[in-house]
């Protein structure tokens, strides 16, 4: 007798699908002409991207004096956006590595798109620190290699350099993990392709995959190795991002809870972004039977969990700032809550701590409208969080004569909008030309988690019996 999933669990594939149905449903959109909606979205994204490119060109030419940063607030918009995008990039790896270890089968419905999103989000994030260097063509100076600059090496004790290593490792491993998973599916598309260019294109990308037992065996060992490598990476990237702040002695930045709390916050915002994208994707590509309400429910639970962890961390920080008895620490937090940027602090609290608690209600957790709405709210909240940490901790330093405020210039805003353009351009291309759901992996869990009339009958029998017994 083999493993049998309890009928009490909600099925992960609806509609009594066969293997063939799975392939057809997921890959058909690749062969068709994109819908009008896709063209509109793509056009808008490219336009945003181009505007971003314009802003970047403008400030690279005139210098980053065109940003809103000033002498007191040397880090503001760019680092806020960097941390925000990097955080979003956490969900993919969490889904592919950690949820794999916890044997969460629902991950198969969303892992492909989440991993793609991770890669695009990390790209968007990387743009900010690189361009903050000003003379970007000198960017390679951050790499430690024997050089002709004399004794000038990157500063190995600086967490900013650790970021370079952490993020580049994260990006490469995520990319490899995502691509290895794609290979069997790309081969499926190659085999079904009718047009020559498609056969050539997907043929080249599939690395000669034939689906032989040997290929599968190697594929599985590689996946395992990459999952093993990815697991610590889920923690390490945002941990090191948190070190950028926490190793300092700036009140509001130097606090020991930062590493785990940043990781929780990153997963929180990452899942919110996955929800936003998945709700759109399942609708546009008609994948409601694969990305089901049960998937949405599970992701909302993770949002509530991580949101609550973040909430505990906020309160711990606030409490400890008072408890520490350190004057500057106390001021930093009072200034956050009651100073000129109070709205960003309370916005953060409302969006990140209060709003996910609504998901204790099953009704809201399985409501498309509320999920979509709250996923946006959470992402706004997580942007506020970084803004609060970065700007409000800096804008009033030890010397009141240098206290200052920050407001973004049109260049700052354009740069940020441009990264949205980049993100959605890449995601839309991915959604059009690649399977957004892992076909092979869905087939792997179809027999145990797919819905069938027999399963429905079994569930009904269990519930009827329970109702009868418990009523008595």
């Amino acid at each position: 007798m083999s493993f049998k999933e309890s009928a009490l669990r909600e099925p992960l594939v609806e509609g009594n699908k066969s293997y063939k149905d799975v392939t057809n449903d997921i890959t058909n959109s690749i062969f068709g002409t994109p819908t009008k909606g896709w063209f509109v979205a793509f056009g808008l994204s490219v336009a945003l991207l181009l505007y971003g490119v314009f802003c970047v060109t403008y400030f690279v030419y005139y210098g980053i004096g065109t940003w809103g940063s000033n002498k007191t607030i040397g880090w503001a918009w760019d680092i806020t956006n960097f941390v925000w995008w990097i955080g979003i990039g956490h969900a993919g790896t969490l889904i592919s590595a950690i949820l794999l270890l916890f044997r969460q089968k629902w991950r198969t419905g969303v892992n492909r798109a989440a991993e793609a999103m991770t890669i695009f989000a990390v790209m968007c994030a990387g743009v900010f620190p690189v361009l903050h260097m000003g003379r970007v063509w000198m960017g390679f100076f951050i790499l430690p290699y024997p050089n002709t600059r004399g004794p000038l090496w990157p500063n190995f004790v600086s967490p900013l350099l650790w970021d370079v290593f952490a993020i580049s490792t994260y990006f490469s491993v995520s990319l490899m993990f995502w691509y290895t998973g794609l290979i069997p599916d790309i081969a499926t598309i190659r085999d079904r392709a009718k047009k020559i260019w498609q056969q050539k294109f997907y043929g080249a990308l599939s690395f000669g995959w034939t689906g032989s037992a040997k290929h599968w065996q190697r594929h599985e060992s590689l996946s395992l190795v990459l999952a093993g490598l990815s697991t610590p990476l889920v923690l390490s990237v945002h941990t090191i991002v948190s070190f950028d702040f926490a190793t300092s002695v700036i009140p509001g930045w130097h606090t020991t809870i930062f590493p785990p709390y940043f990781v929780a916050g990153a997963v929180f915002s990452g899942f919110a972004m996955v929800q936003t994208l998945m709700l759109m994707t399942r609708k546009l590509l008609r994948l409601e039977e694969y990305i089901t309400l049960s998937h949405i429910d599970s992701m909302n639970r993770i949002i509530t969990l991580t949101g609550s962890i973040v909430g505990c961390a906020y309160l711990t920080e606030l409490f400890t700032a008072w408890y520490s008895g350190a004057l500057y620490e106390q001021y930093a937090f009072m200034n956050r809550a009651l100073g000129p940027y109070w709205w960003s602090y309370w916005g953060m609290m409302l969006c990140n701590v209060v709003s996910p608690q609504l998901f204790w209600s099953k009704k809201l957790r399985t409501s498309i409208f509320w999920t979509f709405f709250l996923s946006i709210v959470v992402n706004i909240g997580m942007w506020f969080e970084r803004f609060v940490i970065i700007v409000t901790s800096l804008h009033r330093d030890y010397l009141p004569s240098s206290w200052n405020m920050f407001s973004p210039t049109w260049v700052d805003i354009g740069f940020y909008l441009g990264t949205f353009g980049l993100f959605f351009t890449l995601y839309l291309l991915f959604a059009k030309y690649f399977p957004v759901i892992a076909v092979a992996e869905i087939k792997h869990v179809l027999k145990t988690t797919g819905n069938t009339p027999a399963r429905e009958a079994e569930l009904k029998a269990i519930m009827d019996k329970a109702a009868a017994v418990d009523a008595a």
Partner: protein, 407 residues
């Protein structure tokens, strides 16, 4: 892979063997005598109170983790653990007993104004004006009435949770097959319990542990103490499971279940190290004397324990448990679970002692005696609770998943 559970007896019961019972009583007796002898010889009430605090808190928290384990599995709809659910259920029943001990002890310390344990209990006695002023600033939180309200709240609600899960579970056994009522109630209760637990597991460690070094603070502290207890609590479950399996009981719990618990031991050991490192590194890097004093004292005067802590709780588990086969090998698991429990006992020791007994610490009769007593107590209580109900919760809706748990 794995054996099939055709031979699983769903009504299997455990009988507390007389020999084990004698061992439990023997440990309690020997431990208590050694402790009393140590108390008598040392004549140092600070040391005795500190030892009692360390052991009371440590053993209470690691038995409480069993309830946390059950709660989190209800919340997350975990199916694989059903076959072993009676073990954490039984272990957790020790927690309310130890809670009484902890309550009595802390009440004694607080009402006796023992500022050798909690310096903030008698602020006017502090000579240094700056320190006095600093601690006066904390009296909004560190004051006797509020402290007592908090300890009563923590211990009552935790003990209530411990007993409530057990009650639901036994009711489920008694209910007719197919009933879902107790399962649903357990799930609903988990929401409430876990929220309370998440907040209080941090605040309680600020109260009972961090306030010993009252001038010092670290936002990470609560989570650090929690994970230390978490990994030890899971190791304790592992020890009980290994004993039962080696005695030929618990056929339903296969190598697969054991492997999963082994993975938890591995993962949470690394998580603990991650928190240890993050806290240490950030304090070291910023080099702020108000914060570094905590590690300075431990590194200068508790150097052996400072390193032992890392050796037992990080180096040993990561190297031993990394291999797949070691997570399925009974002897290795018993060894490593013991190392982890003793290691975290050392961790709690080095958290408490520097702020109480100071730099002049000893491991003597009382330090060894009291944990032996508690081990005896946990054995006696766990196995006599295990005896009271069948080893398998046969009406749990996810039982079949757990009986056919393959990887």
């Amino acid at each position: 892979m794995g054996h099939h559970n055709t031979e699983v007896d769903l009504n299997e019961r455990f009988e507390f063997p007389a020999k084990l019972k004698n061992i439990a009583f023997g440990l309690m007796g020997v431990g208590l005598l050694a402790f009393l002898a140590g108390v008598f010889i040392s004549h140092d009430s600070t040391r005795t109170l500190a030892v009692m605090l360390q052991n009371g808190l440590f053993f209470m928290l690691i038995t409480l983790i069993s309830t946390f384990f059950i709660a989190i599995h209800y919340m997350a709809n975990g199916g694989y653990m059903v076959a072993l659910k009676r073990i954490p259920e039984a272990i957790s029943q020790t927690m309310p007993i130890i809670a009484l001990f902890v309550f009595g002890l802390i009440a004694y310390i607080i009402l006796g104004k023992r500022n050798d344990i909690f310096i903030w209990l008698n602020i006017p006695a502090i000579k240094n004006a700056e320190a006095r002023e600093l601690l006066e600033g904390k009296t909004g939180y560190l004051n006797v009435p509020f402290f007592i309200v908090r300890i009563i709240a923590y211990l009552t609600v935790w003990s209530f949770g411990v007993m409530q899960y057990r009650k639901f579970s036994l009711q489920e056994d008694a209910a007719p097959a197919g009933s879902m009522k107790n399962h649903i109630n357990s799930r609903l209760f988990s929401g409430f319990f876990l929220v309370f637990f998440a907040v209080t597991i941090s605040t309680s460690s600020w109260d009972w542990l961090m306030s010993i070094d009252a001038k010092w603070y670290s936002t990470m502290y609560g989570w650090y103490c929690f994970v230390s207890a978490l990994v030890s609590g899971i190791s304790l479950m592992m020890l009980v499971i290994q004993y039962l399996r080696n005695q030929g009981h618990l056929k339903a719990v296969t190598d697969e279940h054991v492997h999963d618990l082994g993975k938890f031991m591995f993962a949470f050991s690394i998580l603990w190290t991650y928190l240890w490192f993050s806290q240490y590194m950030l304090i070291w890097y910023s080099n702020n004397p108000e914060e570094t004093v905590y590690f300075r004292q431990r590194y200068d005067h508790y150097k052996v324990l400072f390193y032992l802590n890392l050796l037992m709780n990080f180096v040993t588990p990561i190297f031993v448990l990394m291999k797949n086969t070691s997570k399925r090998n009974s002897r290795v698991l018993v060894f490593i679970a013991s190392v982890i429990i003793i290691g975290h006992w050392v961790d709690y020791y080095q958290m408490i002692m520097p702020g109480t007994v100071g730099n002049n610490w000893h491991i003597g009769m009382q330090e060894i005696g009291l944990p032996i007593f508690f081990v005896g107590l946990i054995i006696w209580r766990t196995f006599s609770q295990l005896e009271k109900a069948p080893l398998i919760p046969k009406n749990h809706p996810y039982l079949q998943e757990s009986l056919h748990h393959h990887v």
